[in-house]
Symmetry: C2
Subunit: 531 residues, 2 copies
């Protein structure tokens, strides 16, 4: 398979050219427009993709876990089979460096394989059996069996900041396909060529595995036309999204206004508070300052888990931290941002902070040479000011952060308690900080999906224990995660079978357990078990 | 503890009289107004209950599972300790007979004890541990641990049709308290005395177990004033509701319009289709007709799982079923309905069907002597008419049902495919019907939370495998159940702990596993296991 970009959408087994105005990617490193153009999809294209997905659903959801595992592995192989052309195109469309994109490809392939492993283990079905009790008094108990089945066709919106790992075959797609849901992807307009290449890999895998063509489609077009049409199509039963608060809330509103509302898993805004406790700050203010800037400027600051707020007590140790962070930040190289629009929004956000009387500008990074390079920015404010000025806690997507000077630990805690929900919350603590940390944790648990000690929030491991989620507006549904194996649960629902004859039961619930899945029988676990 | 009804609300450890207009229960069997009056709560009462719940949250959610198990068992004992006074009051307020209410008390106590058992088993925490891999290339892996924690304070709305099992200490309250969520109940205006009695039992248990008083409050008042104020209070993080579609949707809309939207678990409308397949119908049309009427008229038809639609093929066997059902229904005694309002709505719904040219009236039950007795009603329509007439598939709460005559099995399936989401779907099938049943099941799985064979949907077992839920509008969230142990998951969310020192980890995640909970460690289960 060659990495040739044609500008077509993929609707089931077909490749079709859209009929709406053309979208062109822009190389943010040069400002150059990249060929080909991607003509946007129409209402008919949306309907066709959703019809195919709806038709594929009953067959695809009842494929065996092993069949879906092989499919996910085939997708992974097909992505690797795209070779360097994929990386080259993604570099041009995102401005991200080769090493980052090769790593992101590894993560993308790795999470497809992790879900394949989860499928083979079988606990995601959560099979439960309460056998009949015909002699029970005063009433007998029927034979009751429960499994989880796929929700239905899912729409996934590609994210700008992970053109591979949160896009066409990224985490949302992998978990939805694993659950047994056909997926219709709305490709992000910033990286349509990368999207097409990966989409062709998925399409090829659907065909190679003999699955119904409607298991996967990829559309392009405007959010207001194609995106809302997808979310409101009656065949669609759930939505995955990573992006702006405004975009996410628009999808939630559209999904709620449907005759049949559906869940939207939108990951939106997070500024990821970091607390530097006194003993840790005293012991290593300079090292913390340098590490902080490393995390802040990674990937031009374009991570959902970027550390945007740093809390510490006023005093000479904080001054040392600020001096070290300021110096590191001033030395940091400007970095090309994902799109001209993201760069412009970043500069506007920094300018607003610069004009805010409550924020003191501490440092800016080196000004870049390229047309869309963001240079890092660091500000200082007082905790008392933060509480009254919502502009200080609005996410500035990029390498901008705010140090929040506090009078005491109670003020740290009270200020964090007033923040909105977050993806992460971080504590830097030495042994002498243990009690202060202990007092903070309950507040952080209520605010965030992941709590870190003595590290930095950028870098999200794909594993069983990860939670990449958190209270609103970090996500629209704090009961879930978009990274890690628990993500499959977003696309499943329980169904109970009462006195259904064995031959008509789904395999996971048959007496002989032909799939060999772990099951909870009369309250006791049998087989390798879920979690 | 005596079963004395005072007309007070319970806010934390206090009993307070409301300041708004008084609500009086009405004995629907006699039309008589029951003393005392219950003055409705004010915005201040709502705020006080929510403040106490918010203050109790961090302490209560971190009580051990064993402590919460003992608390639930203490609630169960306290309810039994109310003695016959509870039953007598509930009979007067609901018109339900003694046997039913004694059974319902047993179910209420039983589900509290079932959640106690679930707490002791520990799998609901879903502890997962991915140990650090410091040597991993190219990057080390941090120590990552996940548990589920309580969402926050929960509002539960008492349901009219289960004054015990879906009310103050019913399923929603039991599962929320088990999860570690303080609960504020808005008592149903139809049974305030029953609500107060049970509320006092819970309040007494909170005190006896040394828990923070804010773990439980009980308010009365109008839905528009007290109900919406509760749902929109920022301390509240989830809502449980069982009732009308209009009421449920109003709560969902209020919850979505909050600055921080929250989940609402609303169980609303379901008409519970039943399919009589040809061989079963031929073999036992008369018996099925009689059984059907038994299920339809149980509890005056006031069950969420009442069989409101019966599908079968036109022909002499269906005529036999209709004749038998009609005869049984005509002989069925009228039964007192829960409230004058519910009775009036039932009669209005039946009158609408009687006036509908697409519905042929088949039979009515015996007219009752009491002021608010509903008499059962049976109608017939053609499948072709059902598709075009939404009025035929609107829930009529009470013992009214519609037989849908179909040309062939494809029409059965196609007609059911057009229905809205349901709590249950039932198939009556003999061995010769196996292939017809097999062809129907995928459609039923997409429509309903529970699929039954050769039974009737009324009667919901409280166990691990039960699903009392289903696609919209049966519930507002098909990913959950309101009955059975899986219900606890509605009130939990995952949190990940990265490199948190052992001493600061929650007990469920500490290296030594002091709680002894089952855990998934590096992908492998250890200990008794979840499901």
């Amino acid at each position: 398979m060659t990495a040739e970009v044609t500008g077509q959408m993929l609707i089931g087994a077909s490749a079709v050219r859209g009929s709406r105005s053309e979208i062109f990617a822009v190389d943010p490193g040069t400002g150059e427009t990249l060929a080909p153009g991607f003509a946007g999809g129409s209402a008919q294209d949306v309907a066709r993709a959703c019809t195919l997905a709806g038709e594929a659903f009953d067959v695809y959801r009842e494929t065996t876990p092993e069949a879906r595992a092989q499919f996910l592995e085939t997708v992974a192989e097909a992505i690797l089979g795209l070779g360097d052309g994929l990386i080259v195109r993604a570099m041009a469309e995102s401005g991200l460096p080769r090493g980052r994109l090769e790593g992101e490809r590894g993560r993308t392939v790795g999470q497809l394989r992790l879900f394949a492993k989860l499928l083979r283990e079988g606990s995601f079905i959560e099979a439960r059996i309460d056998p009949a009790l015909p002699e029970r008094q005063p009433l007998p108990r029927a034979d009751l069996r429960q499994r989880h089945i796929a929700l239905g066709p899912v729409v996934v919106f590609g994210a700008s900041n992970f053109p591979l790992a949160f896009s066409v075959a990224g985490g949302d797609t992998a978990s939805a396909l694993a659950a047994g849901c056909p997926v219709v992807v709305k490709g992000h307009s910033a990286h349509p060529g990368t999207s097409e290449l990966v989409g062709r890999a998925v399409q090829q895998a659907v065909n190679a595995c003999g699955l119904p063509e409607g298991v996967f489609s990829l559309l392009f077009g405007s959010g207001s036309e194609v995106g809302i049409a997808l979310v409101t199509d009656p065949r669609i039963k759930a939505v995955g999204f990573t992006g702006s608060r405004r975009g996410g809330l628009a999808l939630v509103a559209a999904a709620q206004a449907r005759p049949e509302p559906i869940p939207v898993y939108a990951e939106m805004a997070s500024i990821n508070p970091v607390v530097l406790l006194p003993a840790a700050l005293s012991a290593r203010a300079e090292a913390l300052g340098k590490e902080f800037v490393g995390s802040l400027t990674l990937g031009a600051g374009q991570f959902c888990t970027n550390p945007g707020l740093v809390f510490a007590l006023a005093g000479p140790d904080l001054d040392r931290f600020v001096a070290a962070a300021g110096a590191a930040l001033q030395a940091s190289a400007a970095a090309t941002m994902l799109t001209p629009g993201i760069h412009a929004a970043y500069e506007a956000g920094v300018a607003q902070l610069e004009a805010n009387a409550n924020a003191q500008a501490l440092a800016r990074g080196t000004v870049g040479a390229g047309p869309h390079q963001g240079c890092a920015a660091l500000f200082l404010t007082e905790a008392a000011a933060l509480a009254g000025d919502h502009a200080l806690t609005e996410e500035v997507f990029g390498a901008s952060s705010l140090v929040v000077r506090c009078r005491d630990l109670d003020e740290v805690r009270a200020t964090i308690a007033q923040l909105e929900g977050q993806l992460t919350a971080t504590i830097h603590a030495d042994a002498a900080d243990a009690e202060a940390a202990r007092a903070l944790i309950p507040t952080l648990e209520r605010k965030a999906g992941r709590i870190l000690f003595n590290g930095w929030p950028t870098g999200v491991e794909v594993c069983d224990a990860m939670v990449h989620g958190g209270p609103f507006p970090a996500t629209s549904d704090s009961r879930t995660t978009s990274v890690g194996t628990l993500a499959i649960r977003r696309f499943l629902r329980p169904v109970c079978y009462q006195d259904v004859p064995d031959a008509l039961l789904p395999d996971a619930l048959k007496r002989a357990n032909p799939l060999g899945v772990p099951r909870r029988i009369d309250g006791t676990f049998q087989g390798a078990a879920p979690g």
